[in-house]
């Protein structure tokens, strides 16, 4: 099909001009050029899988954040802020900052000192092959499946927003990621993630700036949201712009959650699990050149993460305040994606929640800026996918192939395997994307499956690092029990919707609230089972726990630097700003 026809569809949400397409093509050429440029620097296992462990704190920190800033993250959370109001910012603040600081200051020394290649690799050192196998197989499987359904969702959005052919979106973006990661390994992925970080900000930052000018500042925005939601007879219209003051009861806020779910379910379990044990993000920090850089990298990431609500949450709130039909002046009300993307929804011209960011982009951005904004969304997708693919490749090569299939594999054969598995991982992801295209409901199941493994894994890794009495049998049975209990609770609610009152403590609990409480319970089950089984089984001798457990690991002293270079100082600064933000938006 003609490229111009694929990119210049006239019946779409936004219309690209020639300069927009030049910007998009330049971006693709640049990321491929970087891949080819770095090809010669990925010859050993350390080079290909760990980027030579020579990244500075800034590069590792920006890549750490960028791997998490997928386009679905941008569009999905902008949609969630339209749906739930500023409560969605909890996923960027209490749902990220404390856990990123905890990773930096408490957990990173253990990951770094033991020189593991991956999180499952740490579990092998601490609990043996059983825990490593459960963790690596589940992680590898879920990573490629998640990558595939994200690819499908991205292609759907590109079709709705730009009118792009779905096959074209899937194959071009996946092919580009496969090529640059296979050529340059983790170094290439990290280089492009840093580039993508700047593009995402350059493309998305203009929306909140112009939006706040149009709305009359933050107070004008609050007033407009209150007026619009009152006009629409929405429940609790005043709760959309308050972070904490409406969390005393489940039914006082649009998410149907209370403060305990946010603090304990999100902040203490899901966020801790994701930011400290998900190898997709931890891998970037393991590539740092020394321990101080590895500790500073998540702190730098946390500082920028605190600013992300400005480009994600604020556009959703601006959508609530400003989106009106230009002809009738009536409010435009966005709807769930399945309703918007159905034939009837398309005929009525409905838009899904996730389209709020492209809608705001089209509102303010003319030629050139529109191309930059769309490039930012594509860059977000590609950085997320490259993160998934490079993490999958490392876990497959070291924790499945190297640990279970060919224990004597040479370094050279591992690099060769890594290049091929990158391609194979992308092909499996493409296959998953097409399965999702045929059966969209699979997306809900796979996304839920991913969350099943994160919360219990955090319990296992934390006990492994901080409690030397935890035994190998305790570790893997706790991980298994936590995972199975999470699956069990999910199935229970699916079979009997009334079970929500027990799992999430309220019949008002929406999907996000259910995830919070399910994560909290399954992590507690993992910890209890690990403790009980460990007390009944024989612990490893201290000599085998050196470099993996608190109290038995000599942490290298940082070189004699001033306090302003200390990770503890900067961690403290970030935490104080985090607290101030909670008070301002209380």
């Amino acid at each position: 099909m003609n490229l111009a026809l694929l990119l210049l569809n006239s019946n779409t949400l936004v219309h690209l001009s020639a300069v927009d397409i030049v910007i998009i093509i330049f971006y693709f050429a640049l990321v491929l050029g970087i891949g080819f440029y770095l090809k010669g620097q990925a010859n050993t296992g350390e080079d290909f899988f760990m980027a030579g462990r020579e990244m500075t704190a800034w590069v590792a920190g920006l890549a750490f954040l960028s791997a998490n800033l997928g386009s679905l993250e941008l569009m999905g959370w902008a949609g969630n802020s339209y749906r739930y109001g500023i409560l969605a910012a909890h996923w960027y603040w209490i749902g990220a900052i404390p856990s990123m600081l905890f990773l930096a200051l408490v957990m990173m020394p253990f990951y770094y000192v033991c020189k593991t290649h991956s999180v499952p690799g740490y579990l092998k050192l601490r609990f043996g092959v059983g825990a490593q196998t459960i963790s690596s197989i589940s992680f590898a499987l879920m990573t490629v499946l998640m990558s595939g359904i994200n690819m499908y969702a991205m292609a759907v959005v590109m079709k709705v927003v730009l009118g792009w052919n779905m096959d074209f979106s899937i194959w071009v973006s996946a092919g580009t990621v496969a090529l640059y990661v296979a050529l340059g390994g983790l170094r290439s992925a990290i280089f492009n993630e840093v580039l993508q970080f700047f593009l995402i900000w350059a493309g998305a930052l203009l929306i909140p700036i112009l939006g706040l000018i149009e709305a009359g500042g933050w107070h004008g925005l609050q007033a407009k949201i209150l007026q619009n939601l009152t006009e629409l007879h929405m429940a609790n219209p005043g709760s959309y712009t308050h972070l904490w003051s409406t969390l005393g009861n489940f039914n006082n806020n649009p998410m149907g959650i209370n403060w305990a779910g946010i603090v304990f379910g999100l902040g203490a379990v899901i966020a801790m699990g994701y930011w400290t044990t998900d190898f997709l993000v931890v891998q970037r920090v393991l590539a740092a050149k020394d321990l101080r850089s590895a500790e500073l990298a998540p702190i730098i990431g946390a500082a920028f993460k605190m600013c992300v609500p400005f480009i994600v949450i604020l556009p959703g709130l601006l959508g609530l305040a400003l989106l009106r039909d230009p002809h009738t002046g009536s409010l435009i009300r966005l709807v769930p994606a399945d309703q918007a993307w159905s034939a009837a929804g398309q005929a009525q011209g409905l838009h899904g929640y996730d389209e709020v960011l492209p809608l705001m982009l089209a509102r303010y951005c003319g030629p050139g800026l529109l191309g930059l904004g769309i490039t930012a969304l594509i860059a977000g997708f590609m950085s997320g996918m490259a993160g998934n693919v490079s993490a999958f490749t490392t876990v497959w090569t070291y924790d499945i192939y190297g640990a279970l299939i060919n224990k004597n594999a040479s370094d050279e054969s591992k690099v060769k395997m890594g290049r091929w598995v990158t391609i194979i991982g992308v092909v499996i992801s493409i296959g998953t994307a097409y399965i999702a295209a045929g059966k969209p409901s699979i997306m809900d199941y796979v996304q839920s499956l991913f969350s099943f493994f994160i919360a219990p894994l955090f319990g296992t890794v934390l006990l492994g690092m901080l409690w030397k009495r935890a035994t190998p049998a305790g570790g893997w049975t706790g991980l298994l029990a936590g995972t199975l209990s999470s699956v069990g609770m999910y199935a229970w609610v699916k079979l009997d919707p009334n079970a929500v009152r027990y799992v999430a403590l309220s019949m008002d609990a929406q999907d996000q609230a259910q995830n919070m409480f399910r994560a909290l319970w399954c992590c507690l089950i993992c910890v209890i089972v690990t403790v009980v089984v460990s007390m009944l089984t024989k612990p490893k001798p201290d000599s085998e726990l050196k470099d993996v457990v608190y109290g038995l690991t000599p942490i290298p002293k940082a070189e004699n630097v001033g306090f302003w270079h200390s990770p503890y100082f900067w961690g403290g600064v970030v935490f104080v700003i985090f607290i101030i933000l909670q008070i301002i938006f209380w």
Binding site: Y37, L195, A202, G366
Partner: protein, 79 residues
Amino acid sequence: MKSGSHLSIWFFTGLCLGVTGALIFATGIYEVMSPPANKVVLYELHANVWWGAILLVSGLFFGIHFSPANERKRMAGKS
């Protein structure tokens, strides 16, 4: 960050921001001289002019400061 290579990641960042900024800035100037029929909201602020200029200047800073020539000078100074 050099990572043992000749070109820094910050040089690539500068290249990307510079080229993109130049294209957006030039488009903005063209739109000022020849206003489009369908204008975006807040068109009168000419966001593509000043945003393109900011990106262009940022790109020039990164591109020049981390250019291969300056990198070689820094390496020579260290050794």
